[in-house]
Amino acid sequence: MGGRAGIYLCSCGNNISDNIDFDNLTSYLSSLEDVAYVKTYNLFCSEEGKNFLYNDILAEKPERIVIAACSPKEHEKTFRDIIKKAGINPYLFQMVNIREQVSWATEDKTDATEKAKAYIRAAIKRVKLHEPLEVHKINCNTDVLVIGAGPAGIETALLMARANRKVYLVEKSPCIGGKVARYEDVFPKMECASCMLEPKMDEILHNDNIELFVNSEVLDIIGYLGNFTVKIKKNATYVDKEKCMGCGACYEVCPVNVKNEYDYNLSERKAIYVPYTGALPNVPVIDKEHCIRMHPANDICKEAFEMGLITKEEYDLYRSETCDLCGKACMFEAINYEDKDEIIEKSAGGIVIATGFELFDPSQIKELGYGKIPEIYTSLEFERVLSQTGPTSGKLLMKNGKEPESVAIIHCIGSRNKKYQEYCSGICCLYALKFTKLIKKHSPSTFVCHIYTDWCVPGKDNQEFLNLVISECNPEIIRTSLPLNILISQKGSKICLKYNDLTGDNKEINIDMVVLCPAIKSSEKNKMLSLMTGVSIDKDGFFAESHTKLAPVSSNIEGICIAGCAQGPKDIQGSIAQGAASAGQLLSILVPGRELELEPIIAVIDENSCSGCMTCVGLCPYKAITFDKIKKVSCVNPALCKGCGTCVAACPSGSAKSMHFTTPQIFAEIEEVLK
C-alpha cells in the first residue's frame, strides 16, 4: 500500500487560518508516521499558488498528496490538473474540505483545529489506499437520433443538420409538426401556426443531412454516449413517397370512412389518407387496420366461408382483398400493396427525446359530462374546430351545424390539484385567451365566459395579451375556487353549468358550447422509452432533467437530451428553446475527430469473484450492467457507468467495487475520523 503523503494546507486568505490554529495543526501532522512533509500557502488556487504547488511537487516527488483547503467541488479539478502536470497520477491525491466543513462550520478555534486534524488524518489513511487511475478515451459517432418531430425535435434536427451532422428524425405519426401544426393561430401574437412552422418543416423535408422516418417508432436503443445503436421500426405505409405527387386521387376513391384521430374524431377520413390538409410530408398512408384490402378480417372471412359458416354471397359481400381502387386511381403507380414493415438499424452518438405530451382525459371527472354531452370540447378538439384545415373548415360551428351563441371556457381541468396533476400546465390561460379572440373574430356577438381560479400568464408579452383580450373582447370572467367542482349537465338544447362562486354561493349559467382546458400530461409511452434508454422519469411521468436549474435539457444518461413537453409542460417558444439547447449540448460533446474521455471513477465487477446472482443487473440507473450469459457474471460497461455506486452497495458478495471509493478506502477514512 502507498507511501507517505505530502500535505498542503491552504489558509484561503484567512478564511481558514483565522479559525484553525495552523502552527498546532502543522506540528501535529508533521509528527504522524504517514506524513512526508507539511506545507502551508495562502491561496493555492491563485496563479502564484498553483506555480508553488507545481514546483513543490516536482521537487518533493511525494508518493501521495493531501490538500486541505476549500470544497472539492471548487478546486479538486484545479489541483488534479496541477498534480497530473507535475507527473503524479492525479488520483493519488485526496482533498480535505477544511473551509466549509471546518473553519466556517465550527465556531470554537480549538474544536475546529481538532476537527481539522481528524479530517486530515482520515485523508492521509485513505490516500494511502488510493490506486492510480487512468482516463481512457473512445472514438465517438457524431450523428444524432431525434425522437419526435414536433417543434422541439424539428429545431434540434435543423440545427444539427446545419452543422453538418447526420440526423435521424423519427416520428410516430405520418406527418411532422406535432400538435402545433394543427392549430389555427398561436398566442400571444396571433400568428398563423402552420405558416409559422412551414419553412422549418420544409427544410426538414429537403435537408440532405436529415433522414426522416414518419410512421415509425424506436424499438430499441443500446450503447452509450458517442456509440448508440438504434433500431427503428418503419411501419409500412403502402405508398412510395418517391413516386407520390400528393394529388389526392387515391383517397377520393377509397370506399372506407373512419373517424379521423388527427381531428380528434370530429371528422372522417379514408383508409388511405393524409391526416389533414397541408400535412407534411404530403404523402398519404394506408391505415391497415381499416383498409378492407389489408384488414386481417379478410382471412377470418375466408376461413369462415371455407368452414361453411357463411354463404358464398356473404363471403363476396364481406371479403375485399381485391379492392384496389386507390391503386387504380394513382396515376404514378405509387401505391404498393406489398409494402412491409421494416426494421432499420442506425448508429448515433447522441439522442434527443422530444416526444411531446398528452392531455388529461376530462372524462375521468364524471361531473364534467365530457364524452356524454356533445358540445363539450377539450382544448385540442377546439383547436381543430377553429382551424381552417379542421372538421368545419375553420367555421365556428356546433355539431348540429349552428353557430354557438355562447361559449364557456373552463380552466384548470385536472391541474393544480393533488388528486390529478399538482402542477400548473402554464399555457392553458394563454390559449384560453387566444380562443376568446378567435371566437370573437368568427362571431363578435358570441358570448364568451371564462371560469377560472387564477390567471397564470408569466413571460414576455403575455400579461399585455391578457389585458388586450379582456379589454377588446370583454369576456365574462367568473372566478371560482375550484373549476373541477363544476357540475355540467345537458338542459334541453343548452348546457347547464352549476358552480360556486368565490363567496360560496351556488350559481348557474346556460351555455351552447363548453371548452375544457385539461392539464398537459406526460405520455404513457414515456415509461417504455425510459426502460429502453435508462432516462429517468419524474413522479408525473415526464422525462427528468438532470438538474432543474443548471441542466434543464440533460438527462441522467450522458448523450441523451430531453426537449419540449417530454420534459414538462411548456409553450412553443420554450420547446424550441429546449430543442436548440439540446442541439447545442450535443454539438459541444460530439465533435468530429474528438475522442471522448471516460471517467475512471466507476464501478468494476470482478468476474473471478462474481457469483452471478444478478442482484445488480436491474439496479443500474445507467443501464451499464449486463449479464454475460456464457461466463455467468455481471459486467460493467465503463463507457456507461457513472460511478454512482448503487451496484457496489447492493452486491451481496462484495464483487462490485467502486474505483476511488473502495470499501477499504472508505472504512479507513471513517475509522480515522472516529478515532
Partner: protein
C-alpha cells in the same frame, strides 16, 4: 519421525462439528494414522494439565469449534494458541459466532432471568441462579464467568485459518487437513472454502430472471416451494447471494433456502448488512405504506440476516 500432534476442542457449540469429524467415515482412519491426538474431549479423556505439560508450539494444529462465551473457553483457547503452531476456527460458531451468537441480541441478565427463573418449565422457588463463587459447607465452588456477549474465536486469539459451515462439510475438512499435513497452505487468515457466493454453484441460478423483483416475502412454511426455482425469485429469503460457496448446497438440495452458515466472502465485512442491502435492492415497492408492510412481513429480520454472523459483524451485539 513422530506424528504431528493435533487437538480438537469445543467451546460454545452444539456438538455438530464433532459429528462432522466423525462424518469423515473411513477417511477418519487415515487421519488417525497420520496424526497423534493430544486433546479431543468428545472422544477421549484428557485433562487440562495434559495440555499444560506440552511444550509451547508443540501441537501442529488445534481445531477449535464453538463460539466463546465463558472465561473457561477463553482460557483454553489462549492455552491452545500458546501450544499450537496453527489454530483453525472450525465451524460457523468459532468462525462467526454462529447461532449461539444470536444471544448477542439480548444479555446475560435477561438470559439468566429466563432460563433459571421465568421459563414455564422452571421450578426454582428459591430463585437460584448460577454464581461464579458459591460457599457451601464443603468449601467454595466455582464456575467460569458467563460473559455478557458471545465472541468468535479470533476475537480472543490469533486465528490462522477458518473452516466455515454448520457444520463444515467432510470434503473441506479433508482438504484442510491435507493442506496442513503437506504444508500446502494459503495466506494466513484465509477461510478454507471458495471465495465466491453460493449462487455460483447453485443449480437454481439459471431459473432467476435478470431483473428479479420481489413484491412479497413469504416464509418457507407458507408456500409450496418450487424445487427448481430460485428462492428469492419465489419471495423466500435466501442468503445464498451473500454467503460463501463450498457447502455443497446441502440446504438448497433439501429445498430449503440458504441461512448463511458459511459467512460472507472475503470482500464483505458484515454479511447481514450486505444481504439486507441486496434484498432491499430487489424489492419492487416504492410507497411507504407498502414498504412498511413488506418489512413487517419479515419475521425476526435481525435473526434472519444475522443467523450465523452477528458476533463477527460490525454490530457485534445489541447495545
Amino acid at each position: 519421525m513422530p506424528k504431528p500432534k493435533v487437538a480438537f476442542y469445543w467451546c460454545a457449540s452444539c456438538g455438530g462439528c464433532e459429528e462432522a469429524v466423525v462424518d469423515l467415515a473411513e477417511d477418519i482412519l487415515k487421519v488417525v494414522e497420520a496424526v497423534e491426538f493430544v486433546l479431543w474431549p468428545v472422544a477421549m479423556d484428557f485433562k487440562i494439565k495434559d495440555i499444560e505439560s506440552i511444550n509451547d508450539g508443540e501441537i501442529a494444529v488445534s481445531f477449535i469449534n464453538g463460539a466463546i462465551r465463558t472465561s473457561e473457553q477463553e482460557h483454553i483457547a489462549k492455552l491452545l494458541r500458546r501450544k499450537s503452531q496453527l489454530i483453525v476456527a472450525f465451524g460457523s460458531c468459532a468462525h462467526l459466532g454462529g447461532t449461539p451468537g444470536l444471544a448477542n441480541f439480548t444479555d446475560r441478565k435477561k438470559i439468566f432471568d429466563w432460563v433459571y427463573l421465568k421459563a414455564p418449565s422452571v421450578i426454582n422457588p428459591e430463585g437460584t441462579i448460577p454464581l461464579q463463587k458459591t460457599t457451601t459447607i464443603h468449601g467454595e465452588l466455582t464456575l467460569p464467568e458467563f460473559y455478557n456477549s458471545v465472541f468468535t474465536v479470533d476475537q480472543f486469539i490469533e486465528t490462522d485459518y477458518y473452516l466455515p459451515g454448520c457444520a463444515p462439510p467432510p470434503d473441506l475438512i479433508i482438504k484442510a487437513i491435507e493442506a496442513i499435513l503437506y504444508r500446502n497452505l494459503p495466506e494466513k487468515g484465509t477461510v478454507l472454502a471458495p471465495d465466491k457466493a453460493l449462487c455460483d454453484s447453485c443449480n437454481r441460478r439459471d431459473s432467476k430472471p435478470e431483473k428479479s423483483v420481489i413484491k412479497e416475502i413469504k416464509r418457507v412454511h407458507e408456500v409450496l416451494i418450487d424445487p427448481e426455482k430460485c428462492f428469492l425469485d419465489q419471495g423466500i429469503i435466501c442468503l445464498g447471494p451473500a454467503t460463501r460457496d463450498g457447502c455443497g448446497q446441502r440446504c438448497i438440495n433439501a429445498n430449503m433456502p440458504c441461512r448463511g452458515c458459511f459467512g460472507p466472502t472475503s470482500r464483505v465485512q458484515d454479511q447481514g448488512a450486505k444481504f439486507l442491502s441486496a434484498l432491499a435492492s430487489i424489492i419492487d415497492i416504492n410507497n411507504e405504506e407498502e414498504i412498511k408492510k413488506i418489512i413487517d412481513s419479515i419475521a425476526d429480520p435481525a435473526g434472519i440476516f444475522y443467523y450465523y454472523a452477528l458476533p463477527a459483524s460490525m454490530l457485534r451485539r445489541r447495545i
